[in-house]
């Protein structure tokens, strides 16, 4: 897999939970209104400024809390990859299942100013800030999980295998 690169957004808070990423109050709203609520309690107005191909740089234990499929909301906003100090365990699984490339990379917050062009490679665990030249090493993703992402996520895999 080659690196995913794009303009960065930084949500530096620790322990941003899935109630903030995918609020229950948005479940039954039209898609645009639901998307506007993504992280609105953490950073009002952010969701409407994100563009396709942007990367999200996040803090410690990003996506902690409930098991709801919150990475789908980031994908719907156009986020192409997530790189964080660390990622909540269920949220990490959901990134894999819903095909959002994700990299746990300690030290990344200090290495990025919002707007920098950054790149992540989930196979090698490599992170690069292409605006500054800084490189970091994160946790490489095991092949089995990368294959799920490459296939377009768990549902796509199960369809291909005739389970659904």
């Amino acid at each position: 897999m080659t690196a995913v690169a794009g303009r960065s957004w930084v949500i530096a808070d620790s322990y941003v939970n899935t109630d903030a990423i995918m609020p229950h109050a948005g479940y039954d709203l039209p898609p645009k209104e639901q998307e506007a609520m993504v992280l609105a309690t953490v950073r009002p107005g952010w969701a409407t400024r994100v563009g396709p191909g942007d990367l999200l740089v996040a803090g410690r234990a990003f996506g902690t809390g409930s098991s709801r499929p919150a990475p789908t909301m980031l994908r719907r906003l156009g986020i192409a990859a997530l790189v964080a100090e660390s990622v909540g365990e269920i949220f990490f699984r959901n990134c894999v299942s819903y095909a959002l490339p994700v990299l746990e990379c300690p030290g990344v917050l200090a290495a990025v100013t919002e707007g920098d062009v950054v790149a992540v490679d989930i196979e090698t665990g490599g992170f690069e800030n292409r605006s500054t030249g800084v490189r970091l090493s994160g946790e490489p993703m095991p092949a089995m999980l990368r294959e799920t992402i490459a296939a377009g996520g768990t549902h796509a895999l199960l369809r291909a295998e005739g389970y659904m």
């Binding site: 098991s67 089995m144 389970y163």
Partner: protein, 431 residues
Amino acid sequence: MAGLTMAHKVLAARSGRDHVRPGQLVVTDVDLIVMADTVFNPTADRMPTDLLRVSHPERVVVLMDHAVPAPSIKAATAHRRAREHAERLGFRRLADVGKGGIEHQLIFEECLALPGQLVASNDSHTSAAGVLNCAARGLGMADIIQLVCTGKTWYKVSPTVRFHLTGALPFGVYGKDVFLHLAEVFGSQEGHDVEFAGPGIEAMPLDDRATLATMCTELNANFVMMPADRLVREHVASVTGAPYEPVVSDPDAEYAAEHTVDLSAIRPRIALPDAMNGNVRSADEVAGQRVRIDQAFIGSCANGKLSDLRIAAEIVRGRRVADGVRLIVTPGSQSIYLDAVRLGYIEALASAGALVTNSTCGACAGGHLGVLAPGEVCITSSTRNFKGRMGSADARIYMGSSATVAASALEGCITDPMPYLRELQNREAAG
């Protein structure tokens, strides 16, 4: 080679290995898979199309708890799909509306999993089954669908933090207060399994242990393991004669950290709004601020137990919920509801002006049966006080034990439950 913790033994057994170590990725099968109603919502991010074939239907339980009874056409459609799948695919059990309850309560009550087993579900509070010495944790919905289809899932093996509990719960202190104490003193345990040991855990009633196991999800813990002591074995024996093999940690198992906690030193605690870890105060300190409340909620997988309904009923018996306050009580299961009817708890609660609902996740998840308006203040004994958790992101949610919530509902502001509890104790002593 170092010995194994309880959770590592379960992972080793279910992945066909002699040994596992932190950092490894293991592929396992699972003894019990629970699909909640939310999985069946007919949307792209849930179960977008019907399942055609499954691996081990006898391991799968389908249950309705998040949106019960259906508050919307979407939820009703999910329920219909859930029933259709359970029947067509021959799943082990369908816990339908009125015939089950909240998942984690039902697993405990009905021993849907047994000590030493591996449990997976799409609900984040699945660690609750740790009270039964099960290795249990929440996965994503897609993981659960994959598990049901293929029979397999994966885990990254975590290092373990052990809490060695000594002493016993003081009068008026509950499992919720123990969790709040851990959240205050030790904070997030992200990336780790948590294990409880020592005479303190064995001295704790099962309901309090179950609350603690459930709430450890809010320490961001993965597997949460408790010993299969005499109380657990007696509970299992009262439900089923099925054989099982509990797991015990090896004496030379390695821990990332070990902490000793004296239960007898813990006092009622309250979490302030928006977070629990590092955001806890003593109940009497918060009570001193006379924080006015609009809603008081007792329920959820953590605290919808018979013991929660009992203490709430005894506190409000013969009194009235304060004007301007809604006290909502949601039993954790249909069987708790029925026991509470028989024991007069529901009459005491309803007479005091509390609203007792059917068993459901309900207000805890902000979906229905008690959603908060902007600007409102709630005190809850449920699982989360995150911003926006129970409705409006402009509502404020405090968290305490069910005794703290019940006492607060009477006063109309956040209250230390101790005076009410002492009066109860005196009344009982007087006979």
